[in-house]
Each structure stands twice: as C-alpha cells, then as structure tokens.
C-alpha cells in the first residue's frame, strides 16, 4: 500500500478512512505534504472514523508534526473520530507540544476607505505633534539656557567647543567650495543673459545682493542641515536606543542641558561664521567669473560692488543665520530624542530631521523676507 514515494495515501471504506503516511515528513517536503493533507481533507468529506498510520514515516520534524496536527484538527472539527497510530515513541512529546498550540484569531478586515482616512488623520496628527515637539524643545532650551545664565559654570564648555569644532571648523572647506561654485554659476548666468541688452555691469549688483541677502545663508543652512543636523539626530537617536539618555536622567542630569544645549550653542556660533565665510567665497567666485568670462576687471567689480551693496544688505543675511541655526538644531535634536527602539526608526527620524529642517529654513527665510520688506531693510 505504501509505495515509498507518496507521503500520504488514503483508502476509504464506507465512512471509515485510513490514511497512511510514509517517508520523511520534514521541512523540505512540507510544501508537497501540505497539498496532500489539504487534498485529503477536501476529498474525504464523508469519513466518520479516521485512522492515520504513521508507522512508515521515518523522519518527523516540527513542520511535519504540525501538518499531522492540522490533519487531525481538520477531521476532528468535522466530528470524525480521529486517531494517530504507529507513531514512534520519541515523537510523542513533540506531538503533545503541537497539540497544545492555540492559533491566533485572524484579525478583522477593516474597510479600506476608513483605513485611507485613518492614515491621512494619523499623518496630520503626526505633523502637529512634531510642531509641538519643536515648540517643546524651544521651551526646554530656554529653561536650560536660563539655568546656565544664572550659573555659567553649568555650561558644558568642553562639549560645546568639541561640537563647534565638528560643525564649524571641519565644515569650512566644503562650505567654501560649495558657496564659491554657486557664486561662479550665478555670475556666469548673469553675464550670459545681461549681455544681451548690454547690462553686463549689473551682474555685480545681482551677485552682491543675492549672495549677501539670501543665497549665502540659505546654502550654508541647507548644508548644515544635511551635514550636522543628520549627525545630531543619529547621535542622539543611538544614545536613546541604548538607554544612555535614561542613564543621564537617573543621575539627575537634564539631557537637554548636557546634550542638546552645547550642540545648539555650537550651531548658533558656527552657522553665522560659516555664512560669512561662505558669502565671501561666493563673492570671490562671482568676481572671478566676471573677470575671466565677463571681462569685468577686478577693480571695476570691487568698485561696483561698493556702490551696489551697503551694510544693511550684509546685515540682513547675517541676522538670519543664528535663527536658522536654532531651527536646524532644534529639529535635529527633537527627532533624535524621539527615536524608538528599532534601527529602522533611527533611519526614518534622520531622514525626517533633514527634510523638516530644510523645509523650515526656507519657510523662515520667507518670513524674514516679508519682515525686512515691511521695515524697509
């Protein structure tokens, strides 16, 4: 009856069914076995008494044992008398284990429209929560700052200097390079188009005003968000995952004061310096292109620049820098501290930190533009 090839064979005799298993009931054969078992359950609907002969099964692992259990359960659920015979004694304990398994109820299906609406709602609540988080962080920073002002020795000077080295000094070469290139590109485009109606010389006005008022600070802040904001989020997030932040709290230290304040102070000092250096590099690049590509002598460039810009132009750019630094730092730290236990969440939060801070920097720039226009600066 058992031909050694079929894992399960059935012989029905009226309402009595005899199923004979053979071969290796193991994970490697599980797929095939499952088909045979489900087939048998579907085919022998009339069976009232089922005997499952396991005498010729020479190997059984949890996969095979579970399928046997499923077979028994399927017939028993139909009210058939089911018994397993000939099972080797050393597999008895395994079968008893699996017999006790209680499967989970399948989760109730939800209406897709409601699910869609729910996900929109969850996203909106999430945006609100992250805005609240930033406000919360600004408040906590203000409190920490007041404490430090009341007692200046509480400021972590070493940490602040270390962070300043990371986000300021080490960022100088890349910032100079990028702003220099942007200055070159603006000047080249300006010369190319202005020349058509003989207004070459106004390129200098455009480069000067654009770089000092807007581009210098924007490019530096976007770079800082990508370079230092993401690092802050990842650092704080990893510390959160490894319970280092909780450890600080239990020692009676405020993580905002110990970790966040030095980082944000470093950014508030570092970003204006980088903005200044970046603007100078952009003006230099613009001048170089004007000279080599536009034929405007450096002397004329400098003279024209003096006429086109005044201290106000420079101030507008520089005033914005520390505020943008604050936004980038606060967003990065909020996201870092909201990392949950998983590696995936660390990645998500780092992405969110960069995207949000760049977005907020640009929004802030727009608000400053309106403000300066209305006070006539």
């Amino acid at each position: 009856m058992v031909n050694g090839k079929t894992l399960l064979e059935g012989t029905a005799d009226g309402d009595r069914l005899r199923l004979a298993g053979s071969g290796a009931w193991t994970s490697a054969n599980a797929r095939q076995l499952e088909g045979l078992i489900d087939g048998a359950v579907r085919r022998y609907t009339a069976a009232k008494a089922v005997a499952i002969d396991m005498a010729h099964v020479d190997r059984l692992d949890t996969f095979g044992a579970w399928l046997l259990e499923r077979l028994v359960r399927a017939f028993s659920a139909r009210g058939a008398q089911t018994q397993v015979v000939g099972l080797r004694e050393d597999y008895r304990a395994l079968m008893d284990d699996l017999h006790a398994v209680k499967l989970a109820e399948p989760p109730a299906r939800r209406n897709p429209i409601i699910q869609g609406l729910a996900s929109v709602g969850i996203t909106i609540v999430g945006v609100g929560q992250s805005l609240m988080g930033i406000l919360n962080m600004l408040g906590a920073l203000a409190v920490a700052l007041l404490r430090v002002i009341a007692n200046p020795r509480r400021l972590r000077l070493t940490s602040t200097v270390h962070q300043l080295d990371n986000v300021g000094w080490r960022a100088v070469p890349i910032m100079l390079l990028i702003t220099f290139l942007v200055g070159c590109i603006i000047a080249q485009q300006g010369v190319f188009h202005f020349r058509k109606f003989g207004a070459d010389i106004y390129v200098v006005d455009m480069v000067g005003i654009l770089v000092l008022r807007e581009l210098g600070v924007l490019i530096v802040c976007i770079m800082v968000a990508g370079r230092s904001g993401s690092a802050y989020t990842a650092e704080l997030g990893a510390m959160k995952m490894r319970e280092e932040i909780d450890a600080l709290r239990t020692m009676g230290l405020d993580p905002i004061e110990v970790l966040v304040l030095p980082r944000i102070i470093a950014l508030i000092i570092g970003v204006p310096i980088l903005t200044f250096l970046g603007s100078m590099a952009a003006l230099y690049g613009g001048g170089l292109v004007c000279w080599l590509y536009g034929g405007i002598d450096p002397e004329i460039y400098l003279q024209r620049l003096k006429e086109a810009i005044d201290l106000k132009t420079f101030q507008v750019g520089m005033i914005k820098a520390p505020f943008m630094a604050l936004v980038v730092g606060a967003v990065a730290c909020v996201e870092g501290l909201s990392v949950k236990g998983s590696a995936e969440s660390l990645g998500l939060k780092t992405t969110a930190s960069v995207v949000e801070s760049i977005f907020l920097v640009i929004v802030l720039d727009g608000m400053f533009a309106i403000f300066f226009a209305s006070i006539g600066m």
């Binding site: 994970s27 499952e34 949890t62 399928l67 050393d90 398994v101 499967l103 989970a104 590696a343």
Partner: protein
C-alpha cells in the same frame, strides 16, 4: 587527560558516540593576543554541553569561530562531518542551515515583528505558503513558552526574558540539529533562568537537539548539562560530567565548582567540608 575524560563520559550514558562537532588544534587570536591556543573539543550528538570559563577566557570566541564569524589561524573544525574551512562550499552552506544560534543580546531584527523574525529563515530557505508559515510561527512561539499574542510585537517592546525566548524560537525556526546558546540565562531572574533551563532540556528531548551552551550559570550546569567543558588558558582543561568537575584537582576548577556560589547551587550547606558529591 581532558580528552580521556571526554571520551569516557561521552559513552557513559549508553548512547553510541557520534561526534557532531569536532574541534582540533584550533588557534584563534587577535593581534598579538592568542585567545584559543591549540584547543581540542568534541561535542556528541544529542547532548547538552555546557562550556564554561572565566570572563574574557574566550568561550564566546570558540562559539563564534565554530559558526564561522571569527577566522582561525590554524586547526580543524568539523561540523556534521563537514570541514568548515576547506569543505565544499555547498556542503558548508547546507550545514549552516542545520544549526541555530541564540546570541547573548538576542540579535532580533529590530525592524521586523516577532512573527517576521521567526519566519525570516523559513522565508529565505523554504518555499512555504504563507498560511503554513503563520501557523509554524505560532507553533514555535508556543514551544518556547510564549503565545500568539506576542506575534505582532516589535523586539523593542519585549522584556529581556521574552527576547531570549523569541530568539530561541528563531534559532529553532528551521528545526536545526545543533543549537548554539551564548549565555542563554544571563540577564534573567533566577525563576526565569530556571524556566529557560527546563525549556532547553524539554526542547532538547522533543526535537533531539544537540546543544552547545556557553554559560556562567552554575544552576544551568547542574540541572541541564549532560557534560561540561572547561576553558582555561586557551585550552579545554577538563571535559566531563559534573562529577568529574567536582572531583578534579585543577585549581581553577576547584575555585569555580567549590566556591560559595557553586555550593549554593548544589543545595549544600556552604559551611560543609569541600568534598566530592556522591553520585546519585
């Protein structure tokens, strides 16, 4: 002497000696520091081997070398008869499917749920229908003493004991022949550790596992280990049953197995004389 003891006790429980892991003359080091110095060890089929040694003695190093995470400088490691260094690639891959490893911190994939963690090896190696994998995940979870309510949790939501159990379930996912356990009871309370010990003993019986257990837990050594191997100075100093350990005159073993904590584990009055325990 070490080898002699090992051989003697391997046959003591009446089973045929079937060496499942064979470690010969293995040297492992980092830079100028040699951690395992010409180490020999046999693990027999169907036994629970407790591997002990001082902190930093290289217990985990041997385990990681056997499973191929650390390179060895010389020597031979055979698992299920396959040379794990020079054997054919396909055979070595096949052996890797027949062992499961429980890491000290669990090493569950943090971005996958408990169910996905347990199904991960099945998904990679077996082409099974989703329904069967879902049922198997529940079955494996129940075998390690949890229930279906843990299925959709993420590893960060689990307690220490649950993490160990879920990682054991993942290690057992493909019905391995050998399970490597790296300090399975560390970080568990004594009750949890005791439960985990009896769980390992039960699973070893039901599934016919061979267990290689790196441990510090004297209670585990007493209650579940068939045989104990002691690592001192980069070598297996003694291998054998608990009685052999207690009878040994090696100074490190005497300090380890006759210390206050050990005698507590044996249920002895800690003030009693140091004497070998009569075998039951």
């Amino acid at each position: 002497m070490a080898q002699e003891n090992g051989q003697m006790n391997g046959s003591a429980n009446g089973k045929a000696k079937d060496v499942i892991i064979e470690v010969r003359d293995v040297v492992v080091g980092f830079g100028s520091r040699v951690v395992l110095n010409h180490l020999d060890l046999d693990v027999y089929r169907g036994e629970i081997l407790g591997f002990v040694g001082g902190s930093g003695a290289g217990k985990s190093v041997l385990m990681r070398t056997i499973v191929g995470l650390l390179p060895k400088r010389s020597g031979l490691i055979k698992v299920l008869g396959v040379d794990m260094t020079n054997g054919p690639e396909a055979q070595r891959r096949a052996v890797e499917r027949r062992w499961g490893v429980l890491f000290q911190q669990g090493a569950l994939f943090s971005s996958l749920t408990v169910k996905e963690n347990i199904q991960f090896p099945m998904r990679e190696y077996l082409k099974l229908p989703q329904r069967l994998m879902d049922e198997m995940a529940v079955a494996k979870l129940e075998m390690v003493g949890l229930d279906a309510s843990a299925l959709d949790k993420f590893p960060s939501e689990l307690s220490g004991g649950m993490t160990k159990r879920v990682s054991l379930a993942r290690a057992l996912s493909l019905d391995p022949d050998i399970v490597f356990l790296d300090e399975p009871t560390s970080g568990l309370d004594p009750i949890g550790a005791g439960d985990f010990d009896s769980l390992i003993a039960t699973l070893q019986k039901t599934l016919g596992l061979t267990v290689f257990m790196v441990t510090h837990d004297l209670d585990s050594l007493h209650t579940v280990c068939d045989r104990i191997a002691v690592l001192v100075d980069g070598k297996v100093a003694v291998a054998g049953t608990m009685e052999t350990m207690l009878a040994s005159t090696h100074p490190w073993l005497r300090a380890y197995f006759h210390g206050k904590r050990s005698r507590g584990a044996q249920g002895l009055d800690t003030k009693a004389d140091v004497a070998p325990i009569p075998t039951p």
